[in-house]
Amino acid sequence: MSVNKFLPYVYILPEDDADRQIANGFVLDSLVNLRAVQVLPPPGGWRKVRDEFEQIHCGLMSGNPNQHIVLLVDFDDQTVDRMKQMRAFIPKSLADRVFVIGVESEPERLKVAIGTSYEQIGQDLARECRGTTRDKWSHFLLKHNSAELDRMTPILKPILFPTS
């Protein structure tokens, strides 16, 4: 079986191929519970992520309290506006199971700035998610995620890293 839908699980919906590769690196972390996470195919653009969430996942999540979703989008240097645009489509009843994170501009810039592959970035972020430090997450292209990280850590960490 893929994710076990009878237990809490997390879908990661990446905006594009670069975000998908970061997500791949995240789940490559040896302590991520593979049976509790699935990286979905990238729809190709933040609007399409929003549309897919609204048209497919809203209904599914209402029917299954075990589903959580991380919308991995590029903020295109419009952090506040983009978050508002995404949040506007998230029903209040699902708000504590939907999370929006991503690179402040776009992953290509993060990759150049950090100087490693997307997968390695994802692995480093996963390691910090299960630990206590946030060095990579404090990068200037990622630090705007801190509030969302604070919100998601207590909910998703036990699902993704049950042994940590």
Partner: protein
């Protein structure tokens, strides 16, 4: 871990160089006929040598020369990190005019730059244990020397290299041929995994702790899986049976009674357990997504990747979008061939001359991707 595989004049592989140093897992993609499975066949030639096949005619045939071009040698070179040393093995074969069988033209093994043995035609030059003086002897030029040279101790680098090469897993399982019945034990599964029963028995005999890992993996993919048994039925004959249980009811089936995809779960479990219990191994798996339901593909491939991330090295091929999406630009290699008259080219997706428009899957569907 393989750093480099170089193949020349073998089927569609001409001046072909696979560079996968520091890549715990990587993916070969490309159209049908682009040469992905042939990479496995080239590796299988080397594996067969280490598993004891020394007759050149049992390794390659004249038909393996591309388009009958037997004028140039057929060449295999492999460079690998084993332990903390770099091993390099070269085998060049030729088919002189009028010959029906290929013969050895050149063969060489070196470790950390130091020669273990070298050979030209039938003349073999072999260094002694202290690598000081050389001994010379002749070997029939239709036989490769690697399988027949006796290692001087268990820690002899020759032994280390042969064991590593022989333990490579080169897999393209055909579930129909997997029965779970066995008359002996082996640690060497064949490419189609027809000898799964023997391999499974050998693995558990070598490392009984592998049972726990296999059990854990199978319970993850088949929630009603309870246990497997591999009892003797007769003097030397074993038959693998699987018990399922749900809400007090149970069902026992022979392995042959499982679906094709479920048999692949067993192969995967054995690969994971083998790599952990007696690895690190190199594993080439031709289209591991075959026979699996779409929802299983991603986890199946990612589970393999994760295991080989810790130790060993995985090289897979695939046409399946979900399998391809489990890899990334830096570990996805495109194999490309303009026609059957031209050789295979290889290029990492991250190094394509023309960047991909949109996502990789879309580009593959549109046939809009060239090296």
């Amino acid at each position: 871990m393989i750093r480099r595989l170089y193949v020349h004049n073998f089927r569609c592989l001409e001046n072909f160089e696979l560079l996968i140093a520091d890549m715990p897992s990587s993916l070969l993609i490309g159209k049908n006929g682009s040469g992905k499975s042939t990479v496995g066949s080239a590796l299988e030639v080397l594996q067969s040598l280490a598993r004891g096949t020394n007759r050149v005619s049992q390794l390659v045939r004249p038909a393996d020369f591309p388009r009958g071009r037997s004028g140039a040698p057929l060449r295999f070179e492999i460079e690998a990190d084993i332990g903390d040393k770099v091993f390099e093995y070269v085998l060049a074969l030729e088919l002189p005019e009028g010959f029906k069988e290929l013969r050895v033209r050149e063969e060489r093994l070196s470790v950390a730059g130091k020669l273990i043995f070298s050979r030209e035609s039938s003349q073999v030059q072999f260094a002694n244990a202290r690598r000081e003086a050389a001994a010379n002897f002749l070997v029939d030029w239709h036989l490769a020397a690697l399988p027949v040279i006796q290692a001087q101790s268990p820690t002899d680098p020759l032994n280390t290299f042969k064991a590593w090469l022989a333990n490579m897993l080169i897999l393209a399982p055909i579930p129909y041929l997997i029965t779970g019945e066995s008359e002996g034990e082996t640690l060497f599964p064949d490419r189609q995994v027809k000898n799964f029963g023997e391999w499974f028995s050998g693995l558990l005999a070598l490392a009984p702790a592998a049972y726990t890992q296999i059990d854990k993996y199978l319970k993850g993919v088949m929630p009603d899986f309870k246990e497997f048994k591999n009892p003797f039925s007769g003097t030397d004959f074993r038959s693998l049976t699987i018990q399922f249980q749900q809400e007090g009811a149970s069902l026992t089936l022979p392995l042959s009674g499982l679906s094709d995809g479920e048999k692949c779960f067993f192969v995967c479990a054995a690969v994971l357990a083998a790599n952990q219990a007696s690895g690190p191994f190199f594993c080439f798996w031709d289209e591991p997504d075959n026979y699996l339901s779409l929802k299983e593909v991603g986890h199946f491939v990612m589970t393999l990747r994760r295991s080989f991330q810790e130790q060993g090295q995985l090289l897979v091929t695939s046409h399946n979008p979900e399998a391809i999406r489990q890899f990334s630009d830096e570990n996805t290699l495109l194999l490309y061939r303009r026609s059957h008259l031209e050789p295979t080219q290889i290029r990492p997706i991250a190094g394509l001359q023309e960047p991909i428009r949109g996502d990789l899957i879309g580009a593959l569907i549109r046939d809009d991707i060239e090296p």
